[in-house]
């Protein structure tokens, strides 16, 4: 027997006959695959371009020499004197503002011969409308300087300006300091020797690394964020998997008689298995291919959302182009297809077990499903216990791997509970259902519990999507509430100042040295907390070192500590090698109160004792905070980056702000009142979770398609029954109402099951996955009204998903439907 011919007749024909159902199944696979692809591509594009775009201008760089708090220029002189064949280039990379107060990254580099010219990237030229020969003004901390655009570097997607390094130091008032030294080893010279020599010559606290290392480090920092997005995207695929299972199961039930005939004429059970797996594989391949195209489109849509998040809470990066590689195409097809084949395994094996004679009995399968209920409940209990147990363990390699597995166990438990849940609830609803006029409720309830196996798969798929919506909804709302309470505490000052320009995580543009004194002399100012922040390395990961006035923090009570008395913690800081660390920092590096941290500051290695751990939700990079007096001991030149101004009691905050604005008019500072900052923080928060909501919406759409698909299957399988009911006097409206009642019941059951799973998953997300990924303590605050609204909306959508199948059922010709052979 020619297998392919058989497969063509047996797989392709039915698929073509049921075009609509095939299309719905393919679309659900496609959407699942599309979400996975889109999240991956957009994530790559949003975070992939960490490496400085300047490399294209300077050429290949082998090593970078960096130091916390900046590189001393004298080290540059020492390195150039080394007896190695290598080129050393000093680089400054800092944000400056243009005349339009827009921020742009400025590179100070050596090769420029004329200190009054600038090279700009094509992106910058486009953004500001600059042309070669134009004279442009750049503004550093308190200085401005004119530069002539000498050249526009073509094909650059990132905005930057390059000027001569000496001019850059002048503009920034940072004489004697550079940001890094780039080393290019000559060909023929041994790179390892060069690295050894540099390490020996540079101060011990200096870091010598390959440029790739910096990019890798950034990627590592985003790992948790990207993993959580990825896992979220797999849920859509999981919902798709339930639907593939359903489609194949339906086609096995529907073709039982055909299978029996095939078996009777000599097709082996393995042949039957292959036919159904082939059908799943085909749906998988077509779905995946469509999914790739859709995912590519979707990626362009969400790349902005992801890079916004990355920029606002992690690190500066400009989104690159969305690039679809052959690897991602292959991965997508492989994933989509294997998910399809695996989901089809159980129904296909059932098809293979069909005995030729048994094939004629239609009800057998459903009966079987009912018999397994007890076994399924046992499996559910085991999966539930496994989920609970796995949630007790810590992260593996910094990732909440066991938390993810626990989530999967919880979904499995739900899938297994589903049949028992569906039949129990329908039994409970028996009498209210009969009250729906025209027998619609009675028949709908009965037919759903009669096809229990199929009903419970649809309910599980929809419940999984709903659970995802609910759990993420609870998590985000709890997080938002926690952050808002924290902001109440944290933001107690009336006015906040920072350098002008777009704020980005990990970059702390310095304020002009005169600014603190001007503020202190402004009438109405009671206190001003001058804050110094800079990015530094700790155990190979980036974190923020900050120093402020711990006396003001103590008096204004702006920090809350996990344990210990905040007064005595804050009093112990000034002039001591003592620091406080933020909760994410403590969790990420396993740091506790009393521990000693060794931190390289300039060319000194300092041992800091941890005085306390405080709650912080501003970034998962982690903070180490010292008193200003301590910082001054080690980095006396560190510029101030932020200032919090407290207005004296009785003074008018608005008036004080206006005074500050006019006194600081000559400096590029951004002055914001408390409310603006608070609102800004909440906006950043909401933007961060925009992509999450988008992914959820897609999972819900997949589930809706699945519901429509399954209802249609139920209608097709009950053609005869529907025809009969028409004979018995039902009109079109009653048939429609019957199918819509079924849709409503499916929605109701899914909402109930989804609510339970969602509540469980939200606890998992809040206390296990988020805690282990980001180190934040989130207080549980379920948004009840929002959840009720969302559930109602999904329920209405589910009923809407029944509209087409209902119309289809109402259009069936009764005589054809009941036709007896």
């Amino acid at each position: 027997m020619n297998f392919f011919r058989l497969a063509r007749q047996f797989v392709l024909r039915p698929l073509r006959r049921d075009k609509l159902r095939s299309a719905l199944t393919i679309i659900s696979v496609a959407l699942g695959v599309a979400v996975v692809i889109a999240v991956d591509l957009a994530g790559d594009a949003a975070t992939g371009s960490f490496q400085s775009s300047m490399t294209s201008l300077v050429g290949k760089v082998d090593y970078e020499v960096t130091a916390n708090g900046g590189v001393d220029e004298r080290v540059m002189a020492k390195l150039t004197a080394l007896p190695v064949n290598a080129q050393f280039a000093a680089v400054i990379e800092q944000p400056v503002s243009t005349i339009a107060k827009s921020s742009v990254t400025m590179f100070g580099v050596e090769p420029l011969t004329d200190p009054s010219v600038a090279i700009v990237s094509s992106e910058t030229a486009e953004r500001f409308g600059w042309k070669t020969g134009d004279s442009v003004e750049l503004r550093g901390r308190d200085r401005t300087a004119q530069f002539q655009v000498q050249k526009i570097a073509a094909g650059q997607s990132v905005s930057w300006v390059a000027i001569d390094i000496a001019a850059a130091q002048q503009l920034l008032d940072s004489y004697g300091r550079i940001d890094r030294i780039e080393v290019t080893v000559d060909s023929g010279e041994d790179a390892a020797t060069v690295e050894r020599q540099i390490r020996a010559a540079a101060p011990a606290t200096y870091d010598v690394s390959t440029p790739g290392a910096r990019s890798e480090e950034n990627q590592r920092m985003l790992r948790a964020f990207r993993w959580n997005l990825r896992i979220l995207s797999y849920i859509s695929l999981l919902v798709g998997a339930f639907l593939i299972y359903n489609t194949i199961a339906v086609s096995v039930v529907r073709r039982r008689a055909e299978i029996g005939i095939l078996r009777a004429i000599g097709v082996s059970s393995r042949g039957v298995l292959s036919i159904f797996l082939g059908e799943a594989a085909m749906l998988g391949v077509i779905g995946s291919l469509a999914g790739i195209a859709l995912g590519r489109l979707l990626a362009s849509g969400i790349v902005g959302m992801i890079s916004d998040t990355v920029n606002s809470i992690f690190i500066t990066s400009a989104p690159g182009a969305v690039a679809l590689s052959w690897t991602s195409v292959a991965t997508a097809v492989a994933t989509g297809t294997s998910v399809s084949v695996i989901s089809a395994l159980i129904p296909a094996r059932e098809a293979a077990r069909v005995a030729p004679a048994e094939a004629m009995r239609l009800e057998a399968r459903e009966h079987e499903a009912r018999l397994h209920v007890r076994r399924d409940l046992m499996v559910a209990a085991v999966a539930g216990i496994a989920a609970l147990t796995l949630s007790q363990f810590g992260p593996i390699g910094g990732r909440p791997v066991l938390g993810y597995v626990a989530t999967l166990c919880a979904v499995t438990a739900t899938a297994m509970v589903s049949p028992a849940f569906v039949s129990a609830i329908i039994r409970m609803l028996r009498s209210p259902l009969t009250r729906i006029p025209g027998a619609a409720g009675l028949i709908a309830g009965r037919s759903l519990s009669a096809s229990l196996a199929r009903t419970s798969i649809v309910v599980t798929a929809l419940a999984t999507a709903i659970a995802m919506m609910i759990s993420v909804g609870i998590m985000v709302a709890s997080f938002r509430e926690t952050v808002q309470v924290w902001l109440e505490h944290q933001l107690r000052a009336d006015i906040y100042l920072r350098a002008a320009g777009q704020p980005t995580a990990g970059i702390f543009p310095p304020l002009a040295p005169e600014v603190p004194a001007i503020i202190a002399q402004t009438p109405g100012v009671e206190d001003s907390d001058v804050f110094h922040a800079f990015t530094f390395q700790y155990q190979g990961e980036q974190a923020t070192f900050g120093a402020g006035d711990s006396d003001i923090v103590r008096r204004k009570k702006t920090l809350r500590f996990l344990s210990g008395d905040s007064d005595s913690i804050l009093r112990s800081l000034p002039n001591q090698d003592r620091v406080m660390v933020s909760e994410p920092f403590a969790n990420k590096h396993g740091v506790h109160t009393g521990d000693v941290l060794h931190i390289a500051l300039g060319d000194r290695n300092v041992a800091f004792t941890v005085a306390g751990v405080y709650y912080d939700y501003s970034s998962d990079r982690g903070f180490i905070m010292a008193d200003n007096t301590t910082l001054a001991k080690y980095l006396p030149q560190q510029p101030a980056t932020n200032i919090a101004v407290y207005v004296a009691p009785g003074a008018n905050a608005n008036q004080t702000r206006r005074d500050l604005e006019s006194r600081l008019a000559a400096f590029p500072v951004a002055i914001a009142p408390n409310e603006t900052l608070r609102r800004g923080a909440v906006e950043v928060f909401d933007r961060t979770f925009a992509v999450t909501w988008a992914l959820e919406a897609i999972a819900i759409v997949v589930a809706m398609l699945g519901t429509a698909n399954s209802l249609l299957a139920l209608v097709l399988d009950r053609r005869r029954e529907i025809g009969l009911i028409r004979y018995l006097g039902a009109d079109n409206r009653q048939i429609r109402r019957m199918v819509l009642t079924e849709a409503g019941l499916v929605g109701l059951l899914a909402a109930g099951l989804g609510l339970m799973l969602g509540a469980a998953l939200s606890l998992e997300l809040i206390y296990v996955i988020n805690k282990q990924s980001f180190g934040w303590t989130i207080q549980f605050h379920p948004p009840l009204v929002l959840l009720a609204g969302a559930l109602l909306l999904v329920w209405i959508f589910t009923i809407a998903a029944g509209v087409y199948p209902a119309r289809f059922a109402a259009r069936l010709q009764p005589a054809e439907a009941v036709h007896e052979e």
């Binding site: 009800e363 006029p437 025209g438 027998a439 009675l442 028949i443 009965r446 037919s447 519990s449 009669a450 005869r720 029954e721 009969l724 009911i725 028409r726 004979y727 018995l728 006097g729 039902a730 009109d731 079109n732 009653q734 009764p814 005589a815 009941v818 007896e820």
Partner: protein, 168 residues
């Protein structure tokens, strides 16, 4: 239900080809009961619920009592809560007859009602159909291949290859 390829069907003075869907549904609800060769009970409903169904669809009152009365009439009061798969073929057909008569139709259409039954059950069913005409005043239109079934009729129309051969 089905439309003639030529000619017209007239039920109680109404030409069916001229009726809309609503009117046809009304006709089925009020005037016609159906009995099929393969019984066509809804497998998920109990015997009693199957009998109740036409009344429920029509939005009638006193549904339960009427349905029980019909089930008693076909001699199956004790099977009210049984599901169709728990019944024998003859019992299923009797439930189907109860269902066809539950709304006192003017016409009972029976398509090979004994075709799928053994002789004893078939006889029982035929007696019920005859009584339906006598006690409910329903005009029974029955299609059959069986001479015994045809014997209970008052008028017999013999057909061959789609054409009327004789009317007795």
């Amino acid at each position: 239900m089905d439309f003639p390829t030529s000619g017209e069907v007239e039920v109680a003075g109404l030409v069916t080809s001229g009726l809309g869907d609503a009117a046809l549904t009304g006709l089925r609800r009020g005037k016609i009961g159906f009995v099929f060769q393969f019984f066509q009970l809804l497998p998920t409903l109990t015997a009693l619920e199957n009998v109740e169904l036409p009344l429920m669809l029509a939005g009638a009152r006193n549904i339960r009592a009427t349905a029980r009365e019909r089930l008693d009439w076909v001699g199956l009061p004790e099977k009210a809560d049984a599901l169709p798969f728990q019944l024998s073929g003859g019992q299923m057909q009797r439930v189907a007859i109860a269902r066809a008569l539950v709304h006192n139709p003017a016409i009972l259409v029976a398509d090979e009602p004994t075709g799928n039954l053994d002789t004893a059950s078939g006889d029982l069913v035929l007696r019920l159909i005859r009584r339906a005409a006598d006690e409910f005043g329903a005009a029974v239109v029955m299609a059959t291949h069986s001479a015994e079934a045809a014997a209970i009729a008052d008028v017999r129309v013999r057909m061959r290859d789609g054409l009327i051969e004789s009317v007795e």
